[in-house]
Amino acid sequence: MSQFKIHGRGVYKGNSEGEAVVCPDSIAGNSGALGDVDGVIYEKGNVNYGVCIKDKILVVPCAKGSNGFSAHFRGAQIAGITPAGWISTRMDARLGVAVASMKIPAVADFSESENPLDLIKTGDWVKINGESGEVIVTPKELL
């Protein structure tokens, strides 16, 4: 187990780093699934139920649920709860609005051989470059 790099498309510029929170089934955009003011995941059944998104690198396959997805993340950001960045297997419309609205570093559109959901585990330390699309992963076992 050693540090490794993967590459996607740089989606929103900026460098950031943080602890990965991997959501294999994404985070629902429905009202109440993400705390509008505290940024805590309240989606029942989400593997990260109860986790606050603040300063985390959110790793998702895509967005899902209500078209209010972006608004709940943006509201939490204005309330002071901002993730460090986004990593998504593929970009989609719901997530695209969240990224554009929150203006935080994001990398998406990975090749099939570098699916971040297969390679990154919750608790890993992840650095992302939102311009070049480079993602550097330090597995939690090395931290």
Binding site: V11, S31, V37, P61, N67, G75, M91, G96, A100, S101
Partner: protein, 427 residues
């Protein structure tokens, strides 16, 4: 590389004023995030605005113009609000409370008044107050190939699937900016080849009732591989728009699907070959009764028990369904302490009043309400409930993020029976 027309570039440069400039800046940022290479003209929009709870990050006495600039235009600078594009027919989507009946839904006058104040502000911009998540019942119907934006996920699937119109599940901020600029990135569902089915669903059962259709959407969303486009090849009975509405709402709960072809029934799927564009599907998935059963177990609590909070109308129901409910419950009386809410849009309620359906419903003690729903009204409206019954699955599943009490779900008549008996009975 994003290419803009002269008109779009002029708007971006501020020639049409700061309001449109800021909105176009956001559209351009969004287009770059998506990787779009051009914009397209958008001519219909619905907007999830008002005092929605995603604005809880602001103080209650904040100036709406400040909120609008920061939240919707993504601008650090306060901008004087202008008009939405004259080319884009724009109206409000689902609301955070009924337009008048705040007391019956346990909300404060202060909240109701703030919502009205925000709506009056957007009305001045040219956004019509409609308050509906099923706008196609009252005239918001995009044509085949027409580009739209909507903040209602089920309306994205309906409009792409049934009307053959083109729209993505973007989000609130972009929908607002698209209605102001009349532009949206030409990406995703706006491009014909992205609409082709890639995942074939074959059912080993039939769906006929409204709940079965609703459950099917939830199930397909669960089984749909990420980023794929579904097509159903068999098994659908009693095909009509109200059942399609349930399917389109529930598939949006469990997936990011924006279209769901049905061979023989939807315009881009007259045949399977047409739906697939002559290509081989990436996935062929058989859906079983057990898959449906698993979905039901995810949506509804098992067993039976007393209930005191029943809500029908997710998404907002049609006049035909209000008529059926009115006939079904006419002359009955709700037990003390039990609420039955039936949700539609404001215009449809007026027709229900005209036809006497509203009186039949209200005389039982039930409430015919408009524009909102328990999920969007949030916890304040339902925190007193000891056990809930919800239809459809978008509501029954989604309300679980907001409550720990039992939530039951079943056919509409069964839900209504539960209200009048005060009890959820086992089948």
């Amino acid at each position: 590389m994003l290419k803009l027309t002269h008109y779009e570039q002029d708007m971006l440069n501020g020639k049409m004023g700061k309001f449109k400039q800021k909105a176009m800046m956001f559209i351009v940022d969004y287009a770059k995030v998506l990787g779009a290479t051009e914009l397209c003209e958008v001519s219909r929009a619905t907007l999830f605005v008002g005092a929605q709870h995603y604005l809880d990050c602001y103080d209650k006495d904040s100036d709406y113009k400040d909120i609008f600039s920061e939240f919707y235009l993504s601008s650090d600078e306060k901008v004087t609000l202008g008009k939405v594009s004259s080319e884009c027919k724009t109206q409000t989507c689902a609301a955070c409370c009924d337009i008048t009946e705040y007391k019956r839904t346990h909300l404060s006058k202060e909240f109701h008044d703030r919502n009205r104040e925000y709506l009056e502000n957007t009305k001045e911009m040219g956004v019509k107050i409609v308050e509906s998540c099923t706008p196609y019942y009252v005239g918001w119907v995009p044509m085949m190939g027409e580009h739209f934006v909507t903040t209602e996920s089920s309306n994205v699937v309906i409009s792409n699937t049934i009307f053959g119109a083109c729209g993505n599940s973007d989000g609130v901020e972009v929908a607002v900016c698209a209605s102001i600029t009349g532009r949206i990135p030409k990406w995703g569902m706006h491009i014909p080849e992205n609409r082709l089915a890639t995942c074939v669903f074959e059912l080993d059962f039939d769906v006929s009732t409204q709940m079965e259709w609703d459950l099917l959407g939830f199930t397909l969303g669960r089984l749909l591989p990420k980023h794929e486009v579904p097509v159903i090849v068999n098994g659908v009975k009693n095909v009509e728009i109200n059942r399609m509405r349930q399917l389109c709402a529930s598939i949006s709960v469990t997936s990011a699907a924006e279209i769901c072809h049905i061979v023989g029934y939807t315009p881009e799927a007259k045949t399977l070959e047409m739906a697939l564009g002559g290509k081989e599907p990436k996935y062929k998935i058989k859906v079983t009764k057990n898959d449906m059963k698993d979905s039901l177990n995810m949506i509804s609590d098992n067993g039976c028990g007393p209930v005191d909070y029943v809500s029908i109308g997710c998404p907002h129901i049609s006049l035909d369904e209000i008529f059926e409910i009115s006939e079904y419950i006419k002359g009955k009386h709700l037990p003390k302490g039990v609420e039955l809410q039936i949700w539609t849009d404001y215009a449809t309620k007026q027709m229900a009043i005209l036809n006497g359906y509203a009186k039949n419903i209200e005389d039982t003690g039930a409430a015919l309400l408009t524009g909102s729903c328990p999920i969007v009204m949030r916890e304040e409206s339902h925190k007193h409930a000891k056990a809930m019954v919800m239809f459809g699955s978008k509501q029954a599943f989604g309300i679980r993020h907001q409550t720990d009490v039992p939530v039951y779900y079943g056919e509409v008549e069964r839900c209504i029976d539960a209200a009048f008996s005060g009890k959820w009975e086992e089948m």
